[in-house]
């Protein structure tokens, strides 16, 4: 099972290595990790997607909490959170396929951010299912390169983590 953790950490050098080191050392699998500063400049927020059962999740959470630079760890349940990820997908394109690619992009509310004689780059935002769906559709044209940010998430409603 996948869990999405929101981890508030001190915005200091070395914190990312501490967190990443903890995961590898204890054998937990990070599916994705996204990090950036928050509304408070002294705090960064990591969104970590981790694979494992409830026991693993409990251990991960407790071990993270033991790190001095970790301020707070919250499990963001999938259904009550807004989850987004951004992907840039460079697709092989020529005069024959360009229109169809634009059409697909439109359906997914994705944007064409770069066009060249033999390629197009699509920017798409959404949850994991959406990203997977568009990737699958674009594959027929040939994906030259793809980059994803990793998931970020906020719980719905006024509640903060």
């Amino acid at each position: 099972m996948k869990h999405t953790l929101a981890v508030l950490v001190e915005n200091r050098s070395g914190v990312l290595t501490r967190v990443a080191g903890l995961f590898s050392r204890r054998g937990y699998n990070i599916e994705s990790l996204a990090v950036g500063v928050t509304e408070d400049l002294s705090v960064s927020r990591m969104t970590i997607v981790v694979e494992g059962d409830d026991n693993v999740l409990e251990q991960v959470t407790k071990q993270l909490n033991k790190l001095i630079d970790v301020i707070k760890v919250s499990d963001i349940g999938n259904d009550e959170a807004v989850e987004r990820e951004l992907a840039l997908i460079k697709v092989t394109a020529d005069v024959n396929t360009r229109a169809e690619i634009i059409q697909i992009a439109n359906i997914f509310r994705a944007r064409i951010v770069d066009v060249a004689p033999k390629s197009m780059t699509v920017e798409v935002t959404g949850d994991e299912a959406k990203l997977q769906a568009i990737e699958k559709l674009l594959r027929q044209f040939g994906i030259k390169e793809m980059v994803r940010t990793g998931k970020i998430a906020l719980s719905r409603g006024p509640k903060k983590v």
């Binding site: 290595t17 080191g21 026991n55 409990e58 251990q59 407790k62 790190l67 001095i68 630079d69």
Partner: protein, 563 residues
């Protein structure tokens, strides 16, 4: 100087002032280029500096000092190889939750990351073996960092903290101000146990008919020995201790069933296996204790008291967890529990004790290693015992009669050979009024025997008793049992003449070759009030017994002693 006022000083001077503010009286260390400014300050300082002969020993000595005093031990080493030499000592302290602060020199800030001469990324290297570590990037931060380091090391689940000090940080000038408080929003250890949980636990405990208290090193760290004994007596429940928990309850106490686990007593292991309720206090269900997890204490509910929430249900599912300080929680529990109906249970344990005592072969010609420990126990009643790692360590755990906490020091978690002698030096510095004995093996002693020079130069009269069996005995024992007696590279006989080695360093060297010589040699060593080594030639192929093979259930016990 009073906190609150400021004064302009160099980083090196500021460091000394910080240490004074933390009531540090002793440092164990070894100098080098990156530390020159700090050592220059130490030259005029009132701090005692014990010059070791290898940085590993500085870390172990700080650890030994911390374990006997309960204070935070401090060690210091230069950049690069000095710092990496500390690693084993830091890891040892980490595994056993010992509060030490390790200071390391570092190349100047401007050179970090350039593979400069004697540069090592020691904060990176020690990340998995410290509770926290710092690379000081601005001299003005130094006082705050030191304050935090001592706070983190000594509170919550204790452990080592490292501070890496680039050389330029120690030479630049700052306005010295020592903060009064630490503010760490990510670090708030829990001390007080949850009252609801305590009441729930008390209820379960009172219902138990076959309770066992499983006491670990956390009791010693939290100074909760008196409460542990009171608690056990209130319930009338037997107490099994881990290797780290030795000393938490006197060996001779009627409720003590000794050590459990791989080389634990049969009766401790049987008690655990037949128990209906285990109260684990400051213990972490290590594999050397539990054996095969699936068969550990099959009929018992488990109450687990620990200051580290991450230990709860890590290896074994726990029914009632209580997170907090052992001393406080035991005090509360004592108020709520009633005596268990444990008479038949205690009677059964008494029978087991009679039926399966810890014994060994009695021999009037060849010195049995267990006999040596019994002799030491007789002669050195209130001594602090420090051990190395191997068979001698287990015999020291099994056959010495302990009466107080903080008198048995051993590398339990990491199992570091070479820990004992330097840790014993640290222990003696911390408690000079106590007799300190290092129970050593001929293999382990050679891992830090250079520290004889430290003992002699600093006049630290520790007695090292080497149970010299000519083997890396513990490994040989496993080879004997599980590898068809193929003694692959475990014969170390004829390594060195330990008597001459001691003498070469200016220490006293003595030897015992017959049982009758053991007592007198040890007595002479103590009487000399000098650093001394007693080379005791023991039975070469004696085994530690009983033994639960790795991975077996803890009631699947091998008997190895020949009576």
């Amino acid at each position: 100087m009073k906190t609150g006022s400021t004064e302009k000083v160099t980083g090196a001077k500021a460091l000394i002032k910080c240490l004074e503010q933390e009531h540090v009286d002793t440092l164990f260390g070894y100098p080098g280029g990156a530390l020159l400014p700090i050592y220059d300050e130490l030259y005029d300082s009132d701090l005692r500096h014990i010059l070791v002969r290898h940085e590993q020993a500085a870390a172990h000595a700080a650890d030994g000092y911390a374990r006997v005093t309960g204070k935070t031990g401090v060690c210091i080493a230069t950049s690069g190889p000095g710092a990496t030499n500390l690693v084993t000592g830091i890891a040892t302290a980490y595994m056993d939750s010992v509060p030490i602060v390790a200071l390391t020199g570092q190349v100047p800030s401007s050179m970090i990351g350039n593979d400069a001469f004697q540069e090592a990324n020691i904060t990176g290297i020690t990340q998995p073996i410290t509770k926290h570590n710092y690379l000081v990037q601005d001299a003005n931060e130094l006082p705050r960092v030191v304050k935090e380091a001592f706070h983190i090391a000594s509170t919550g689940r204790q452990g080592p903290v490292l501070i890496d000090l680039p050389k330029d940080i120690t030479t630049s000038e700052i306005e010295f101000y020592y903060p009064e408080k630490v503010e760490l929003r990510g670090y708030k250890p829990t001390y007080k146990g949850n009252l609801q949980q305590i009441k729930r636990a008390a209820e379960e405990i009172t219902k138990a008919e076959r309770p066992v208290i499983y006491a670990g090193g956390g009791i010693i760290n939290s100074n909760a020995s008196a409460e542990l004994v009171q608690f056990a007596e209130a319930l009338m429940a037997p107490v099994a201790t881990t290797l780290m928990g030795i000393g938490a309850i006197p060996t001779e106490h009627f409720l003590n069933v000794g050590m459990l686990g791989m080389h634990g007593s049969k009766y401790a292991n049987y008690a655990i296996q037949e128990s209906d309720l285990i109260i684990a206090v400051g213990a972490r269900f290590d594999d050397r204790v539990t054996g095969k997890l699936e068969s550990f204490a099959p009929n018992a509910k488990i109450v687990h008291i620990d200051i580290d929430p991450a230990e709860i249900s890590k290896n074994i599912p726990v029914h009632i967890p209580i997170v907090g300080d052992a001393k406080q929680i035991l005090k509360m529990l004592i108020k709520y529990v009633k005596r268990c109906k444990s008479e038949p249970w205690l009677a059964k344990i008494k029978e087991w004790k009679k039926e399966f005592p810890l014994t060994y072969k009695k021999d009037s010609k060849v010195i049995q290693p267990q006999f040596v420990i019994e002799k030491i126990s007789e002669i050195c009643k209130d001594a602090i015992l420090v051990t190395e790692v191997g068979q001698h360590q287990m015999w020291a755990a099994q056959f010495f009669k302990y009466s107080e906490p903080r008198t048995f020091l051993t590398s339990g978690g990491l199992g570091t050979m070479g820990y004992g002698y330097p840790a014993a030096l640290g222990a003696k510095v911390g408690r000079p009024e106590k007799l300190v004995v290092d129970i050593s093996g001929d293999g382990s002693f050679q891992m830090n025997s250079q520290e004889l020079a430290t003992a002699v130069q600093n006049e630290i009269p520790v007695v090292a008793v080497i149970l010299n069996n000519g083997y890396l005995g513990m490994v040989r024992q496993w080879q004997e049992l599980f590898f068809d007696r193929r003694y692959s590279y475990t014969d170390i006989s004829g390594s060195v003449d330990f008597v001459k080695l001691a003498e070469a360093y200016g220490a006293l060297g003595l030897r015992a070759e017959r049982p009758s010589e053991v007592g007198p040699a040890i007595e002479a060593a103590i009487k000399s009030e000098r650093p001394a080594v007693v080379d005791v030639r023991v039975e070469c192929e004696a085994n530690v017994s009983p033994m639960v093979p790795a991975g077996a259930a803890i009631n699947e016990i091998l008997d190895l002693e020949e009576n």
